[in-house]
């Protein structure tokens, strides 16, 4: 008898992989960047489907495929989740202390830098009439 296609294993694997690779996409929106809810949800859905699929494959191997590749899928998904967790819980938090950064009440160091049109912009040019918000960012290289 031909065994049935064990779809939760495949769908679960694709969703779990999507949980990792959609990070760049969800990082565009502050709500899903500050804390990666969307990615963790995808991992959760993927894991549920994978476990369900593997139980089917192990419990009724005469009916459902996937004992071997289901196990491989789960191992890969766990590795991807570990990589994701390492990035989220460790790498993103490796920010320098910036102990010497100007504090409230101190003078902001002056500067003059070229803008996107090649025009020199000095801090002094930005302060009138009511000050300036300076955003330091990592850049796009």
């Amino acid at each position: 008898m031909k065994r049935k296609w064990n779809w939760p294993l495949w769908v679960g694997f694709v969703v779990a992989v999507g949980g990792l690779f959609s990070y760049e996409f969800f990082a565009q929106f502050p709500l899903t960047r500050d804390f990666p809810w969307a990615n963790l949800s995808l991992f959760g859905i993927g894991a549920t489907l994978l476990i369900f699929g593997l139980f089917r494959a192990l419990g009724r191997p005469q009916l459902y495929r996937g004992k071997v590749f289901g196990t491989i899928f789960i191992v890969i998904a766990v590795a991807l989740f570990a990589l994701f967790s390492y990035e989220i819980l460790y790498v993103l938090k490796q920010v320098p202390l910036s102990a010497q950064a100007p504090r409230v009440g101190e003078k902001a160091p002056s500067f003059s830098l070229p803008d996107q049109n090649g025009k020199e912009v000095a801090l002094a040019d930005l302060l009138s009439p009511n000050g300036a918000v300076l955003i330091f960012y990592r850049g796009h290289w």
Binding site: A27, P30, R33, D34, P36, I88, V91, L92, K93, Q94, V95, P96, S98, A99, Q100, A101, P102, R103, V104, G105, E106, K107, A108, P109, S110, F111, L113, P114, D115, Q116, N117, G118, K119, V121, L123, A124, L126, L127, S128, P129, N130, G131, A132, V133, L134, I135, F136, Y137, R138, G139, H140, W141
Partner: protein, 111 residues
């Protein structure tokens, strides 16, 4: 930064300029301001000299281990005095425009 662009009128109506600083070149900044419609200055601090002066350097965090800026936001008043600093502890979590606007509204008036 896109969120600051979309709230830019709230800054200009308060008489506050917005400027962004990174190690990106003028060319990259021009491309990105075209792509995302940034109308405030993106300032190019290619050798990270100003970034160092503000002590917001992230050593080796850029491509091929180069030095870049860590995310940080300041509000500097008319007198050049810092009135608000936001130093995130997570690269992914940056200041929202509402935080900066709140800091501007809370800053003491310049005599």
């Amino acid at each position: 930064m896109r969120s600051f662009q979309s709230r830019l009128s709230d800054f200009t109506s308060r008489g506050v300029h917005v400027a962004a600083i990174s190690v990106d070149s003028k060319e990259i900044n021009r491309l990105h301001s075209q792509k995302w419609g940034f109308t405030f200055p993106l300032l190019s601090d290619a050798d990270a000299e100003v970034i160092r002066r503000y002590d917001v350097l992230h050593r080796g965090a850029g491509p091929k281990g180069t030095d870049i800026a860590r995310p940080a936001e300041f509000y500097v008043d008319l007198a050049g005095t810092v009135q608000w600093v936001n130093l995130t502890e997570n690269i992914a979590v940056r200041a929202r425009p509402e935080q900066a606007l709140g800091a501007i509204d809370a800053a003491p008036p310049i005599q």
